[in-house]
């Protein structure tokens, strides 16, 4: 019996491999700022959506309407943002921007629209030095402008690929041990020709790195090509087990930073899992739920009382509905693209120093791992 071949990433290995979606970022760094916003734009007719909250400290908006027993089935965008609950304001800007585009839930007349924009936020307050330097409605609108540019620059009905690393909502992201988080994305082609993809904003009380080996928890789920084109990754790079001296130094720093103690800050990882296959609202929720398993594999601990981990599931309904086996495989893929997106966020992030502290990139902390 021949083993099944390894899955293959889509053309850009990001969320926009799901045709019809576009991703835009806006961020501000310096002068007390270290935060940003990311928007995922659905096609104009919206995307069927679900959601799943598993962290103990969520910051969310418009999640109640995602319940499959409620009226609204499609969302026009998902707003992901830094700034803790203050960053929910970014979604106001996304709504206004969508209204300007004539995009929304139609209330009986073409010009009477209510854009549907669920959103979630990560806790990154104060990391740039100022507690009140948080995304507002302007960040959401600027992220939409960026997504529109990406859509215009795309080919074959797909938007241009988003930047990865410490950009957009992941700008102020961190993980345990003084390492920097960030925004990652990955995609996978499914046997039935559809695509499943994720975009994740990594920011966790837990760690992405096994302290015993320095290896990334999610590394075993990577696919060939996952390191290609990442910022800072040499062409043809592979992941290696880091040298013992680097592992010891990282562990010493984690102890010094108190990463072993009760967290002194909130965190929260948020994201979107999407497919071009036609799903029901309930299936879109299952997509989000499986995405949380991918998070659990890449971050330890995940879903703590100090994280508000929230995943949204989107279906653009651009292809046929999957059969039972197809959906079963899609859910496995949903978990994997989240794990891979987290690894890719970790690898793409760069070190940063602000008045509040220094967050090292994985590749600076473990230079022997990526070569």
């Amino acid at each position: 019996m021949t083993p099944e071949p390894l899955p293959v990433p889509g053309p850009t290995n990001t969320l926009v491999d799901v045709a019809g979606l576009a991703v835009g970022h806006h961020q501000r760094v310096g002068d007390g700022w270290l935060t940003g916003s990311t928007v995922v734009l659905a096609p104009p007719e919206g995307a069927v959506a679900g959601g799943d909250v598993r962290g103990g400290g969520p910051g969310t908006r418009e999640t109640d309407l995602l319940d499959p027993c409620n009226l609204v089935e499609r969302v026009h965008a998902v707003s992901l943002s830094g700034g803790s609950a203050f960053g929910l304001a970014a979604a106001d800007g996304v709504m206004r921007w969508l209204l300007g585009q004539g995009c929304g839930f139609a209330m009986g007349a073409p010009d009477r629209l209510v854009p549907i924009v669920p959103g979630a936020v990560i806790f990154d307050l104060g990391r740039g030095g100022r507690w009140d330097a948080t995304p507002d409605a302007g960040f959401g609108a600027a992220a939409c402008d960026d997504a529109l540019r990406a859509r215009e620059q795309g080919t074959d009905g797909r938007a241009g690929a988003p930047a990865l690393g410490a950009v957009g909502a992941g700008t102020g992201g961190q993980v345990s041990g003084g390492l920097r988080g960030g925004t990652g994305s990955a995609s996978q082609l499914l046997p039935d020709g559809s695509t499943v993809a994720a975009l994740v904003v990594l920011n966790a009380v837990g760690s992405t790195v096994d302290p015993r080996t320095g290896e990334l928890y999610g590394a075993s789920r990577l696919l060939p090509g996952d390191l290609e084109g990442l910022p800072g990754a040499p062409s043809g790079a592979r992941l290696h087990t880091p040298e013992a001296a680097e592992v010891d130094a990282a562990r010493a720093r984690a102890v010094e930073l108190g990463s072993e103690a009760l967290p002194r800050t909130l965190a929260t990882t948020i994201g979107v899992v999407a497919t071009d296959a036609t799903l029901t609202e309930g299936q879109a929720q299952r997509l989000a739920m499986s995405g949380q398993d991918g998070l659990a594999r890449a971050v330890l601990p995940a879903h703590s009382m100090f994280d508000g981990d929230t995943i949204f599931g989107l279906s653009t309904c651009g292809r046929a509905a999957p059969d039972a086996l197809g959906f079963h495989r899609m859910l496995q893929g949903a978990a994997d693209v989240v794990t891979r997106a987290i690894v890719r966020a970790t690898l793409a992030a760069e070190s940063v120093t602000t008045p509040e502290g220094t967050w090292r990139s994985y590749r600076e902390a473990f230079p022997s791992a990526l070569r």
Copy 2:
């Protein structure tokens, strides 16, 4: 066996009979506007909170954190607003205002605060004539200023009573049959000395009026004194069965307006039920759930696919926790104060005409009912 005496309303018969809470309104009427926002301010240390969404088209924020298994237990305010999902922006203003007051969830240092502000919105778009005339962050902040004034004008630790009728978030409210909705409130003293009270923003696809008799569905739950001091209610007024001619005219108008057909608009009734007794988060959620029963008794149909009916439950923890019987009675009271608040909103509202149409007050449509 002597029958139990009728319950008695608190001193102001509004939400602020729960000591520590304050209510503020802000609204704009005319020039295309017919909408507003209402804020319920908790004591500075916050109120233990739960929530319950039972309508099919909710517009909400920060409801996921109310889950009793999540980290945050207390909220600093509840934002209720017109403007459909656009009106969620009012809560951004409430957050900023609370931050300015030094009020929020403390993140390890006294000046590192995140105010917790769940919120819900009603659908009132376009009723003033302009689709884009919706509450923004400024409405939320202005409602907070109003609540602060009410707190400063209060006595005995209680804030001044809020205005009732078509004010605040209820400014653009309507119910079936071309009748105007509005903001209502009521309170009840419980046998153990604690208080349960509600503030409700009435706006429903359904009706508050039995079309066969012209009587208000919730009228039978009124307590002596519930009509005292209501705008437009003569001193000593009681509710009577309206004259047949008025009932016939109202029914004819409802048919003309298409109230018997599939709703052409969304609606949504939202509110807060609160007590000064100490509750757990789970009990605060039960308080909200019982409040929905009170809504079901006052509005038919309630909780439709075109309403996003959402009730928040608050405990200021200013008195001892109730025993099992005390909590059982409190839940009955929670339903009743919501029913009575809805009746009081209906009776206090005034007629209004905008470029979009005319909404008649109950007392204009049924003048023989209230005398």
